[in-house]
Symmetry: C2
Amino acid sequence: MTIKEVCSRFGISPDTLRYYERVGVIPEVHRTAGGIRDYTEEDIGWVETAACFRSAGMPIDLLVEYVRLYKEGSSTISARCELLKQARAHLLAEQQKCKEALKKMNYKISVYEKAVETGVLDWNNGACGCPCSAEQE
Amino acid sequence: MTIKEVCSRFGISPDTLRYYERVGVIPEVHRTAGGIRDYTEEDIGWVETAACFRSAGMPIDLLVEYVRLYKEGSSTISARCELLKQARAHLLAEQQKCKEALKKMNYKISVYEKAVETGVLDWNNGACGCPCSAEQE
DNA sequence: ATACTACCTGGAGTTCACTCAAAGTCAAGA
DNA sequence: TCTTGACTTTGAGTGAACTCCAGGTAGTAT
């Protein structure tokens, strides 16, 4: 599979894919005799994993370290397991932050929707624990 | 409340707080006669909101635009409402990406935990739809 | 054989969100 | 009053993650 096909499949630019390979977010990709990248299913699996974790905000370093350990072979299995658990903690923290932001956001939107109807913003902070006191008008 | 107290309350550096004010993520903060920032409850409300949304990955521009509209007064209420809905969509997308990454991560960890016990990595891709074919060893 | 397009590399440039430094001011304690 | 330490501004510097560019090669269509 060409780089272009992989790009359109995952919504990543060719520059980004080459960058990922260069810094080690994914292992070296298979090439044609002429030196052009020809992604195997295995390569694509790595790209999908990298794209998934990156889109969730996982830092590059962590993915690079994982690939480094992977290349070292089965002696690093437990190290990789620890790394993944650390990565999971990171993701759970991100998810929690999203949740909190969404809670706050939903409250703000509900107040604004009422205001769009009535023309008056009516914050009711104490009741919801949402710190919107700064926005009384 | 001094800048230091606000910082320790939200885990933000003084530089970051001043930066937020400078670029307009939060409105101008109240000052003492000597020109030193003295955060009111209202100011703190803005900081909390900014910190919450920023930690969830909301871009600075969006928050700046919201504050800009807020300062323009009640004529921008419906515009602000639209902006918040757009922001919510952004957060929901983030949350979804976290969820997908966690699903993949949990599968990988489960495989690795088994491998740490047995010493053998045993991917079972077809069964879970998880693209881990790149990591068979 | 000749275009033409997509790919290659190495390295420089960009964007975002801070973060730091320099030089000066404010405020409390000895 | 002097010192000390926290605050102020302006502007430059940093790190992460791309993104672009120049100059060259691969592969296909005519």
